[in-house]
Symmetry: C2
Subunit: 341 residues, 2 copies
DNA sequence: CTGAAAGCGCTAACAA
DNA sequence: TTGTTAGCGCTTTCAG
């Protein structure tokens, strides 16, 4: 019998039914500290519930310039650890009364700008952004922040900018990972990363360099595309010193590595120890893929970013700061987990 | 020098600058077919752009009861083919001027109700829903649809309900998959599925039964949890007839199957042919996992739902119907792709 | 052709 | 303690 929608009933419908003013109803429903007859208060609450009253959020936003909504902007919600991160954020925010507008910037500055503009049009209260192209829109984000919208950088941080951020302590994690390789007996260490750099990726590179000698010729950069990785690594794997190890900036580089391993007969982790960030994605239906995966002859440690904690921090920062703008937070670098066999 | 936000400027700011009424500006910006001096029109357009005018969507919604937003509700945006489906939907909708509110119902009716209510509060123009608990909230969805919000079922359909839907032709795909097993020489066919049934899953079961003999004792149902699957399958794999094959309702059942295979020494696809729906997720860092994966000795065909086409259909249905409510669409069952080696 | 004015549902300042 | 009222920014009649 419930009827959540039935001809969008409004504040004044309740007011009418109960016999009070809309103000009274508004005050009660928002439990403002305004004294009102306890009987009436109860009655209002009751009828509102019975009628399944739902405030018209458009009207609320118009009046208050707050939308009870948060925009999330990521390059691609299907990659890396983003799906899990976003899901946790959504759940946490919703339980705090915020709805979530999720946007894919495709890691493209112009696209990100459009999304940001649209979100501002909607008066989102806050933004959780993984800035595209390593922060190309920082000036815009700064303006948005100045205009009163809370801006939080997630996953990535922008040095020299004053945005609050929640990220992984990538340097420490990379150091730990590299150390693991060294302790496993690796003498010659390679680093495979993306060509396009930004601080978070440089942290990883830096962390590895902290822990082990990294010859300049052992730093291999290329676009994170399977074929490119494959090609890039072939010559390296062909003349692989004994006791080699490779650090993957992200495990989305793994398929290409395995392709090259297949073509050169290098088994992992037997002949080449390996460790990398983020959940690897393996498909099992293509014979070609399969023959690559077969080069994996044992478990491979993975550096798993702690998305749960990151999402918690992000949600807490947003909700608490929005409720109480004078709250102070310090940027967060969450420790990653080294998943060993 | 752009300033997308600077003290939310409004229609009247432009009107003031140009020296016309807000009406004129509004009409021009929405290119209403209202005749207006061509010089003024140009000037208005120009200043609006120069000032980076953005309409206040809250005000628009309030007036029009339309939000230029679509709600997407899925059980869990990280599982199965949902990440890709949602991403494509988001991209397609945004390019049509709609923003996207993504919600995780956690496959829980009460949670879904909350999300739906919140979305309605916001006057979303349409909903793309993967109904939780197999459609427990159908009555609510019906009411929402009656109240004028476009409701589309995605992935799942609800028989007896009149919602438009976009789904996979699961019956045909399952039939094809089962046929493939039969042609590969499978004599004894097993079906492994979830305990909780709904039409989409029953279609898959039906499709398999269409193509091959499926003894009642060969239909294995259990919760889609790795440990349960493991346990459920142990006795079966222990006494596995020669020429066996197993159809997985979803490849998220695969890890459990492989665990059981490891414990019983059954190799796949050597001793047990296998095929299943949806992208499998394999982790590689746990020794335990790894020993399970090692039971996979060759590529395994996968039934890949065509999320691109589904998303296209869904986005088209929503945008076209919203633009032109008299448009007529027929529910869609998209063919899945059998990914063979 | 163009502009003034009403009002969407809600909140907050002000009267009573 | 309560009710009346004036907008929030926009669209949309309806006069001019």
């Amino acid at each position: 019998m419930s009827s959540i929608d039935a001809g969008p009933l409004g504040l004044k419908d309740i007011a009418g039914k109960v016999g009070v003013s809309t103000t009274a109803v508004s005050n009660v429903l928002n439990n403002k500290p305004i004294r009102i007859g306890d009987a009436k208060r109860r009655l209002i609450l009751h009828t509102a519930r019975a009628l399944h009253y739902r405030p018209n959020l458009a009207a609320c936003s118009l009046k208050s310039k707050k939308a009870r909504a948060i925009g999330i902007v990521v390059p691609d919600m299907t990659t890396l650890h983003y799906p899990e991160l976003i899901r946790r954020l959504e759940v946490a925010l919703f339980s705090n009364g915020y709805q979530t507008l999720i946007c894919n910037s495709q890691d493209d500055g112009a696209c990100e700008r459009e999304h940001l503009a649209a979100l501002c049009s909607r008066f989102v209260d806050g933004l959780a952004v993984v800035p595209a192209e390593g922060g190309i829109n920082a000036p815009l984000l700064r303006r948005i922040a100045n205009s009163g919208t809370l801006v939080l950088c997630v996953d990535i941080y922008l040095p020299k900018e004053r945005f609050h951020y929640v990220t992984t302590d990538g340097r420490a994690a990379a150091r730990e990972g590299a150390l693991w390789l060294v302790n496993a007996g690796v003498k010659k260490l390679y680093y495979l990363g993306e060509r396009r750099r930004h601080p978070v990726l440089d942290d990883r590179l830096g962390g590895v360099a902290d822990a082990a000698r990294l010859d300049p010729d052992a730093i291999l950069l290329c676009p994170p595309v399977r074929e490119h990785v494959h090609e890039r690594l072939l010559p390296v794997l062909r003349r692989l010193p004994a006791g080699s190890g490779i650090f993957l900036e992200s495990n989305r580089l793994l398929p290409g590595l395995l392709d090259a391993a297949r073509d050169t007969g290098v088994t992992l982790p037997g002949r080449l120890r390996v460790i990398g960030f983020d959940p690897p994605v393996l498909t099992i239906h293509r014979a070609k893929d399969f023959s690559s995966w077969r080069m994996l002859t044992g478990p491979v440690p993975v550096i798993r970013q702690d998305v749960a904690t990151m999402a918690d921090h992000a949600a807490e920062y947003l909700t608490v700061t929005l409720a109480n703008p004078s709250a102070r937070f310090v940027p967060v670098r969450v420790a990653a987990e080294l998943c060993l066999p």
